[in-house]
């Protein structure tokens, strides 16, 4: 936990201290997660599980749940990026000025609709496959932060830099790819990281429509008054979300253009 809190501070710290903190975060986050999981494992081992608990809490169920949740989150994130990044670029071009507010409003609706309602709607009306329906639902849900990230990232690029690049004779296209995009990368990556964490965390809802995930342990445990199953499912989901954020953080550090 401390490692996560420290991680959030690093933009305010500078120089050597900063890289030290970063290294601490790289090691600390997985260490804390590993300790939490190990503690839970030992606790579960020490308990005598009844028939219901042992059918919900076992290695096979947990492994399947983790794979399902990662699969849903990765596909949803990929789908989100494929839609939101090009859309964000398009919407910041001068010719798109008129439609921008409309698209943003639509993306807002995507995130404003209750996620669970969206999932049931997609499942019942469109796709009778829990995983696929969940991927689509999660993607709709995550489009807004990535779209926003892309747009804000591009908009905060100094207009002077863009003008200078144009003045040097660069085409609009090469200004976008060689000046604007690299400068927008940090904010864009934050959007991607948000999308990943959001989809990993909300993927548990897929359990309602047959998509599996750690939500199955949570719902099954809750439905049968077996709090241990709820705890294991919650820890599993939280572990994945924290690790997703951790990987996202490392990716941000590595992909951030040199000199920024």
């Amino acid at each position: 936990m401390t490692a996560v809190a420290v991680g959030g501070l690093d933009s305010r710290v500078v120089g050597r201290e900063r890289s030290l903190l970063r290294r601490l975060r790289y090691v600390g986050v997985p260490a804390v997660v590993a300790i939490a999981c190990a503690a839970m494992y030992l606790y579960v081992q020490s308990q005598e599980l009844d028939n219901i608990e042992s059918r919900i809490i076992n290695a096979r169920v947990i492994r399947t749940a983790a794979f399902e949740q990662i699969e849903i989150a990765l596909w949803a994130t990929a789908l989100t990026l494929v839609v939101a990044v090009p859309l964000g670029i398009a919407l910041t071009r001068p010719w798109a000025r008129r439609v921008t507010p409309i698209i943003i409003a639509l993306a807002n609706i995507g995130q404003g609709v209750p996620a669970i309602g969206l999932l049931f709607f997609i499942y019942i009306v469109l796709i009778r496959n829990g995983s696929t329906a969940a991927i689509l639902g999660m993607a709709i849900y995550a489009v807004l932060p990535v779209l926003r990230g892309t747009m804000v990232g591009l908009q905060q690029v100094d207009r002077g830099v863009v003008k200078a690049a144009r003045g040097m004779g660069m085409s609009k296209r090469s200004v976008l790819f060689r000046v604007e995009m690299p400068l927008a990368v940090p904010i864009l990556l934050t959007g991607v990281r948000t999308a990943l964490v959001l989809t990993v965390a909300t993927a548990v809802l897929a359990a309602f429509i047959g998509g599996g995930t750690f939500g199955e342990l949570i719902i099954g445990g809750q439905a049968q008054g077996r709090p241990l199953a709820v705890a294991v499912g919650s820890l599993g989901a939280a572990t994945l979300a924290i690790l997703a954020d951790w990987i996202g953080g490392i990716a941000e550090d590595l992909l951030r253009p040199k000199g920024l």
Partner: protein
């Protein structure tokens, strides 16, 4: 709530009135069936307002978030109101434990419950008792002792798990009983898709009972675990499942024209339904249980299914269905 001092005169008055009415020749026969018009009730001795006076009783009732519970909750509310009580009904408490939690926390005084849910979820057993009456008695005794919760006499209707499939699929494949389903699973595992909720797969009285009784193992990769409420539609469409877990009294079996497979080996255990009442409240107001027992006594499985269907098939409101029932049975004039 004054429960003690000014109570006696009322009791005396009620006693006198009841005697008087009985003397006038009202008989106790309750008309059966749910769909019929108002029958008999009018002048009989069944009128709740003649038998009970609960005008000094204030009671809070909770009901869960599905049709049968909504109807039963409305029945309790309207019956107690007819007997003079002031009733506050909290509906749509989340299944399965919402109403129970509210009861334990003292936010409601009474709530309907099924013996199976109580035994497995609340009293934390994993192996249920096969005989419905023994199961009820075990719950009643244990819950009173452990949690100070009183159980009324159960209503006559059973509710239990079942497997259903869409009608044309059943006809095509000659499926009538769970034994047929078992052979189907064995012969056509690729078509044996099953939608079930998270409890059915993990409870001792769930899928494993079917597998043991009919000697078959349902392939894991053909099972889709999802929210109970959407299983019915998924089964009716055959997408994604040809078979679905259902509750036998659910009105949607009728409304979606599902074929309920007959449990020839009695694999699934029947559960009874009764009202849990906070025992302190029950001891202070013993007539509440009597009212609830009286109104639930005529509800057998066919009648409960019919009442559920009036909501799920005909689109009526649970409160109207409950009101009609009380009138039909002669509890309310």
């Amino acid at each position: 709530m004054q429960r003690t001092s000014n109570r006696l005169p009322w009791v005396a008055l009620v006693a006198v009135l009841t005697l008087g009415v009985s003397a006038c020749g009202g008989d106790e026969t309750s008309p059966g069936g749910g769909g019929g018009g108002p029958t008999g009730g009018g002048g009989g001795g069944d009128l709740l307002s003649d038998q009970f006076d609960l005008s000094d009783v204030e009671i809070r009732i909770g009901s869960k978030d599905f049709t049968e519970q909504l109807i039963l909750g409305q029945l309790a509310k309207q019956a107690l109101e007819a007997a003079g009580a002031t009733v506050e009904l909290t509906e749509n408490l989340p299944s399965p434990a919402g109403a129970r939690d509210a009861l334990l926390a003292g936010e409601v005084d009474a709530a309907w419950e099924y013996t199976g849910t109580a035994y497995i979820n609340y009293l934390q057993h994993d192996t249920p008792i096969d005989d419905p009456t023994e199961q009820y008695e075990a719950v009643r005794d244990e819950d009173l002792e452990q949690n100070n919760i009183f159980w009324t006499e159960p209503a006559p209707f059973d509710d239990t798990y079942g497997l259903a499939t869409r009608r044309d699929f059943a006809d095509e494949n000659g499926l009538e009983t769970l034994a047929d389903v078992a052979s189907f699973v064995e012969e056509n595992p690729d078509q044996a898709t099953l939608c079930l909720d998270s409890t059915f797969g993990s409870r001792d009285d769930g899928l494993v009972r079917f597998e043991d009784a009919y000697g078959v193992t349902w392939p894991d990769d053909q099972q889709t675990v999802q929210e109970f409420a959407i299983i019915y539609q998924a089964t009716a469409d055959g997408d994604p499942c040809n078979f679905g877990e259902v509750f036998t009294t659910d009105g949607r079996i009728q409304s979606l024209d599902l074929a309920l497979m007959e449990d020839v080996e009695s694999a699934f255990i029947s559960y009874l339904s009764a009202v849990q009442i906070n025992n302190d409240f029950n001891e202070a107001n013993p007539d509440v249980a009597s009212v609830l027992e009286a109104i639930s006594a005529p509800i057998d499985e066919a009648l409960m299914t019919a009442l559920n269907a009036q909501v799920d098939v005909d689109g009526e409101f649970p409160e109207d269905v409950a009101a009609q029932y009380l009138e039909d049975q002669g509890f309310v004039g």
